[in-house]
C-alpha cells in the first residue's frame, strides 16, 4: 500500500482543476480517462503528474465519447474511475452518460461549464445545467452536485465517488470555468482523518471464478424487445432513484426564515448571493438565499419550506433560465412571484444582485 497522498489535513492555495485532481487522489480514485477541452484541461494535467507517483493511471482518449465509455469500462470492472469535460465535450459525453444511467454504472464526471451554444467561450457559464441534469435519451437518473467554492470542489469530488458507489447512479460534480481557473485557499485532507470512509468498489464484470461453473455469468444488456419490458426497467430505475432521493438531496438556505425576498441561485453565483444578502441585511432589507447543492435530485421539499414566507423570488443564474426550469417544476403551485435575472454566459457580481433587489423593493 502506497503512502497516503495527503497526511491528515493541509491548507493549500490552488486552482480548482488542481483541487479536483487532489480530491480524486484523496478519494483513492484508480484511473482517469479524459480528452482535452478548456477549461477542464488542468484536471488531466495535475492528475497525469500525480497519478504515477501514487500507483494510479491515466488514459488520454481519442474524444469525449471514448473518454466516457472507457470510464464506464473501468468502473464496471471495479475501478474507482472518473473523467472530466466541458461544453461540446459534455454534449458528446451524453451518450456514455446515458448508458451509465441504464446500467447504473457508478462513474464520476467532473463538468467545468463554459459558454454555449456550440464553441462559444472557454471561460465560464452555467449553461450546462439542463445538459448535465437531463441530457441523454432518458429520464435523468443522475446525481449532480453544484459547487461554489474550492473547499466544496474538494469535498464533493470525494463525496461524488461515495455517492456513486453507494447508490450506483452516475454522479457529477458541476463547476465552471471560474472555479476551474481561479486560485483560492482551502483545506485538503485525507478523508479517513475526517472520519469519511470510502465506499468500497466492486466489479460487476470479471469477478473471481469460472462463469457458468463456479458462478453464473454476468450478461449485461440494455436492449429491450417490448414497450412493456422497458417500462418495467424504467419504473425500476425510477423507484431506486426516488428511494435514494431524500438521502442524497442537499441544499443551503441562508437567512430565509424571515426573508421577504429570496435569491435563488446555484454554484459559483452563490458566492455573489452570499455577499449581496449580507449587504442587503446591513441595509435593513430582509433578503436571503436558497441554493440547491444537488441539482439532481432537486431538494424539492426543503425549497418549498424555505420560501414559504417570501414575497418574492429572484432567480439569478448565468444562463437563460436553466436553473429556473428546475425550480419552477419543483415548486409548482407556489404563487410567489419570480423575478428573473438571467445572464447567459457571463459572471454575476454581488453589486448587480444588490442593485436588482433594491430596484425590486422600491
Amino acid at each position: 500500500m502506497a503512502e497516503k497522498p495527503i497526511q491528515g489535513e493541509k491548507r493549500v492555495f490552488m486552482t480548482g482543476n488542481e483541487v479536483v485532481a487532489w480530491g480524486a487522489l484523496a478519494a483513492q480514485a484508480d484511473i482517469m480517462y479524459g480528452y482535452p477541452i478548456t477549461p477542464q484541461n488542468e484536471i488531466m494535467h495535475y492528475w497525469s503528474r500525480l497519478a504515477p507517483k501514487h500507483g494510479k493511471k491515466f488514459l488520454q482518449t481519442e474524444d469525449e465519447i471514448s473518454a466516457g465509455f472507457t470510464t464506464i469500462g473501468g468502473t464496471i470492472i471495479g475501478a474507482r474511475a472518473f473523467t472530466g469535460t466541458s461544453g461540446p465535450g459534455n454534449t458528446l459525453m451524453q451518450e456514455p452518460m446515458s448508458m451509465a444511467e441504464m446500467y447504473r454504472v457508478p462513474a464520476v464526471f467532473i463538468i467545468q461549464q463554459r459558454g454555449g451554444p456550440s464553441t462559444a467561450t472557454v471561460i465560464y457559464s452555467q449553461q450546462e445545467v439542463t445538459l448535465t441534469t437531463f441530457g441523454g435519451n432518458g429520464e435523468g437518473y443522475r446525481i449532480v452536485y453544484s459547487t461554489a467554492t474550492h473547499q466544496e470542489l474538494f469535498d464533493y469530488t470525494i463525496k461524488a465517488f461515495n455517492t456513486a458507489w453507494k447508490h450506483r447512479f452516475p454522479t457529477f460534480v458541476l463547476a465552471d470555468g471560474y472555479q476551474a481557473k481561479m486560485r483560492e485557499p482551502l483545506t485538503i485532507y485525507d478523508p479517513e482523518a475526517k472520519g469519511i470512509e470510502m465506499v468500497p468498489t466492486v466489479p460487476t464484470l470479471g469477478k473471481e471464478g469460472v462463469p457458468g461453473v463456479d458462478r453464473p455469468p454476468v450478461h449485461m444488456t440494455n436492449t429491450r424487445n417490448t414497450e412493456e419490458e422497458l417500462y418495467e426497467v424504467v419504473k425500476g430505475l425510477q423507484a431506486a432513484y426516488e428511494e435514494m432521493w431524500p438521502e442524497v438531496e442537499e441544499h443551503e438556505a441562508v437567512e430565509c426564515e424571515d426573508a421577504e425576498i429570496i435569491i435563488v441561485c446555484h454554484g459559483v453565483v452563490t458566492r455573489s448571493a452570499r455577499v449581496a444578502v449580507s449587504q442587503l441585511r446591513e441595509a435593513g432589507i430582509k433578503a436571503g438565499y436558497f441554493r440547491p447543492i444537488t441539482l439532481r435530485p432537486f431538494p424539492v421539499e426543503p425549497m418549498k419550506q424555505s420560501i414559504k414566507g417570501a414575497k418574492q423570488l429572484l432567480m439569478v443564474e448565468s444562463a437563460q433560465g436553466q436553473l429556473a426550469r428546475l425550480v419552477k417544476d419543483s415548486i409548482y403551485g407556489s404563487t410567489i412571484p419570480i423575478e428573473p435575472m438571467f445572464r447567459p454566459g457571463i459572471g454575476i457580481s454581488s453589486e448587480e444582485i444588490v442593485e436588482k433587489v433594491q430596484s425590486l423593493i422600491k
Binding site: G74, A81, M99, G212, P217, V218, H219
Partner: protein, 248 residues
C-alpha cells in the same frame, strides 16, 4: 447429445439455439471464438463486449462475463476495462458498421495506441439489424436498402478494407488478419493467435471475419455461400496481414 458435443465448452447451453437468423455467419464466428477460448483455457479471464447491431445478440452467448454496449462503443468500453484491469482478457466484438463507420475513430485510435485488446469484426457487407442498409463494406454495385440501384463508387467510395487499414497503423507486435466463416478452422486459429497476442502483451490484435447475411442479401443457401466464397473474397483477401515476431 451428439450435437451438444460439437459446441465449445464456454458456450452457454441455456441460451442455445441462438438468436441469429438462419444462415447467419455470427454463430460460426462465435464458434471459432469459443473454441479459441477453450483451447487457451481463459474462460475465467475473458471479458466480452458486444456492439449494437446483430452482434448484440451475442450478449448471453457465452459462459463469460459480457457487456453489450452502444453502436461503435465496444472498443472504448473494452479499452477502459483493460486499462483498469490488465489481467483480464478484453474482447470487443462488432460488425462492420460499428467498427468501420460509427466507431471507426475508436478502432483507429485503439490500434494506434496499441491497446492490448482483441477486436473481432464481422464483415457481412450490410447493416443487418437495422434492415439491410449500405455498409462501409458493401461491394461495388451491390444493392442494399440505401443503395437500391447498386453501390455507386463515384458517389460513395470504395468498400473499407479494415485489416489493411489496421495493419498500416499498428506497429510490430500487433496481430492483424482477415478470416472467413467459410474456413472455420483457419478463422479459429487467427482468433487464437489474436488472443495470444493480447496475453503476450505485444500489441493490438484484430481479426475481421467475412460472414454471411442471407436475410438481407435475399439469397438462398447456395447463393449465400457463393457470394461469400467467390464475390467477397475477390475484394477482401483472406490471410494474415501482421504477425508478431516469434520470440527466440
Amino acid at each position: 447429445m451428439e450435437f451438444d458435443i460439437s459446441m465449445p465448452k464456454c458456450w452457454r447451453r441455456e441460451t442455445k439455439g441462438h438468436k441469429f437468423c438462419p444462415g447467419c455467419g455470427h454463430g460460426l464466428v462465435l464458434k471459432a471464438l469459443g473454441l479459441a477460448i477453450d483451447e487457451l483455457q481463459i474462460q475465467d479471464r475473458v471479458v466480452f463486449g458486444c456492439d449494437i447491431g446483430c452482434s448484440l445478440l451475442a450478449y448471453d452467448f457465452f459462459n463469460v462475463d459480457t457487456m453489450q454496449t452502444h453502436h461503435g462503443r465496444t472498443t472504448p468500453v473494452i479499452t477502459g476495462i483493460k486499462r483498469a484491469r490488465p489481467d483480464r482478457i478484453g474482447i470487443a466484438y462488432m460488425g462492420d458498421g460499428g467498427g468501420y463507420a460509427i466507431g471507426s475513430q475508436h478502432l483507429v485510435n485503439a490500434a494506434a495506441r496499441n491497446e492490448r485488446i482483441t477486436a473481432i469484426l464481422v464483415n457481412n457487407t450490410v447493416y443487418g439489424m437495422t434492415g439491410g442498409q449500405m455498409a462501409p463494406t458493401t461491394l461495388p454495385g451491390m444493392k442494399t436498402e440505401t443503395s437500391p440501384y447498386g453501390r455507386e463508387i463515384s458517389q460513395t467510395g470504395y468498400p473499407t478494407q479494415g485489416p489493411e487499414m489496421v495493419a498500416a497503423i499498428t506497429r510490430e507486435g500487433a496481430y492483424v488478419a482477415r478470416g472467413t466463416v467459410g474456413k472455420l478452422s483457419q478463422l479459429k486459429n487467427m482468433i487464437k493467435k489474436a488472443l495470444e497476442t493480447q496475453i503476450a502483451g505485444t500489441g493490438f490484435s484484430f481479426v475481421e471475419a467475412l460472414s454471411t447475411c442471407p436475410t438481407n442479401w435475399s439469397t438462398n443457401a447456395k447463393d449465400t455461400w457463393s457470394f461469400l466464397e467467390d464475390e467477397m473474397t475477390k475484394y477482401f483477401k483472406v490471410g494474415e496481414l501482421k504477425v508478431p515476431a516469434k520470440e527466440e
